[in-house]
């Protein structure tokens, strides 16, 4: 069985991080398995933890009156779930719910915040990693908003006939 340190080493989020920091972070982490259809987080609840997804799929959702939960995005193996623990007011912005059984490493945000405050190099390293994830999520959201596959997009751009219609 792998140690928490080894699991952190294997996760893409911590790729290349030095062993000393991995050891420090491992002190704030535990293994946690969620069942399918289980809430990992609820909107507006305190965000004291975040999760490294080792295996499985998590949907990020928001509830709409008279409509129910809308899935905004899904996360999968190698992804990270939650960054609300980093910033005040430390509350979840969306619901996070498992679609399958999900194996995670659960990290204690309060513990990590203290360690980051004591070692700003660790804090900077972690911040850079989260900033990269945020940038990737922003790019993905922009792509979703573009409606690249949509009829309206193609209608607008390709109204001139004699296009190779096949590849929108």
């Amino acid at each position: 069985m792998k140690t928490i340190e080894a699991l952190l080493h294997d996760h893409p989020f911590f790729a290349g991080m030095n062993d000393e920091y991995i050891r420090l972070i491992a002190g704030c982490a535990v293994n946690h398995v969620f069942n399918p259809q289980e809430y990992i987080a609820r909107e507006n609840d305190p965000a004291d933890y975040f999760y490294l997804i080792r295996n499985g799929r998590v949907s990020i959702e928001i509830s709409q009156p008279n409509y129910g939960a809308v899935i905004l995005q899904t996360l999968q193996d190698g992804d990270i779930c939650g960054w609300s623990w980093l910033f005040p007011p430390h509350r979840w912005t969306f619901d996070a719910k498992t679609q399958t059984q999900v194996q995670t490493l659960k990290l204690d945000g309060r513990c990590l915040r203290t360690k980051c405050a004591n070692d700003t190099n660790l804090g900077f390293d972690l911040m850079q990693r989260f900033a990269r994830i945020m940038t990737e999520r922003l790019q993905a959201t922009r792509l979703q908003l573009l409606d690249v596959y949509g009829y309206s997009q193609n209608k607008k751009n390709h109204e001139t006939q004699n296009k190779k219609d096949q590849n929108p």
Binding site: G78, Q144, T160, Q161
Partner: protein, 269 residues
């Protein structure tokens, strides 16, 4: 340059605005052939011609199958065709997917929206018993579940290849991935030396897919994509589809990324 006369043998409504035509030549025993990735020029009488990719199997020599989205005057006319109606066909044209290069490789098929249609002949070939590909993985992204092509076939393919689907907008009941199809690639482990990728979809999606594949150290020479531009003559004479030094109709529509990357990211081209 003179079109052959075909008739519609079967018409399938995929979802509103997108349909599939099975078209047959007006001969007793036609033997039709094409390479996956090639296209035909379909002529709706009185309206004009459009280039449409093949989306059937190369093993079916009696019909051509085309999936078409209604966009303009010609495709609107094609949409009106019903079983027994006639149309003109020129083709097949262009350079297709390099099926021969899949031997011994993990094949990554990355399709966005209607981009699954030009990849479908390749899927059929890769699922054939004679295929020498070691592993086939299909990543398919669409706007939403109702706008996914070949939904029944996707269920069958799931038994034979690794299928991952993603939608931009989840509809009630959708229990799979939500987000850009390129996100699916991030969690995929590949052996760059023994993998080959074929991409077809909106150009923006293809750019992001290529970025992910390059991050995974897949060589440019192992990435192929299908491009689209205005095509008129389909034989490289008119110049409408010139793209950099290449003509999409003659040198493509399938290109190796290694050969086109110098101008692929240039918006002016």
């Amino acid at each position: 340059m003179i079109p052959d006369i075909f008739y519609v043998q079967r018409r399938i409504e995929e979802y509103p605005g997108t349909f599939t035509l099975h078209i047959k030549k007006k001969e007793a025993h036609p033997r039709l052939s094409f390479q996956p990735g090639q296209f035909n020029m379909l002529y709706a009488f009185g309206a004009g011609e459009v280039p449409i990719s093949m989306s059937g199997s190369v093993y079916n020599t009696s019909v051509y199958i085309h999936t078409i989205r209604t966009l303009g005057q010609v495709t609107q006319a094609l949409e009106q065709l019903r079983e027994g109606d006639q149309l003109g066909v020129r083709g097949p044209f262009g350079k297709g997917w390099p099926v021969g290069k899949t031997a011994g490789k993990t094949v990554l098929l990355i399709a966005g929206g209607l981009g699954l249609a030009p990849l479908r002949p390749l899927v059929y070939s890769l699922l054939d018993k004679n295929s020498a590909a070691t592993d086939v993985r299909l990543f398919y992204g669409a706007k939403s579940q109702p706008e996914m092509l070949y939904s029944v076939e996707l269920k069958h393919w799931e038994q034979q290849l690794t299928l991952q689907t993603s939608v931009d907008m989840a509809t009630p009941g959708w229990q799979s991935n939500v987000g850009a199809v390129t996100h699916l690639l991030t969690a995929t482990k590949i052996d760059p030396e023994n993998s080959i990728a074929f991409i077809c979809g909106p150009e923006i999606m293809m750019r992001f897919a290529i970025q992910e594949l390059i991050k995974k150290n897949l060589p440019r020479a192992s990435i192929y994509l299908s491009m689209e531009r205005n095509m008129k003559c389909a034989i490289g004479h008119c110049g409408h589809c010139q793209w950099g030094p290449a003509f999409i109709c003659k040198d493509g529509p399938v290109f190796c990324y290694q050969e086109i990357y110098p101008w692929f990211h240039r918006q002016e081209v």
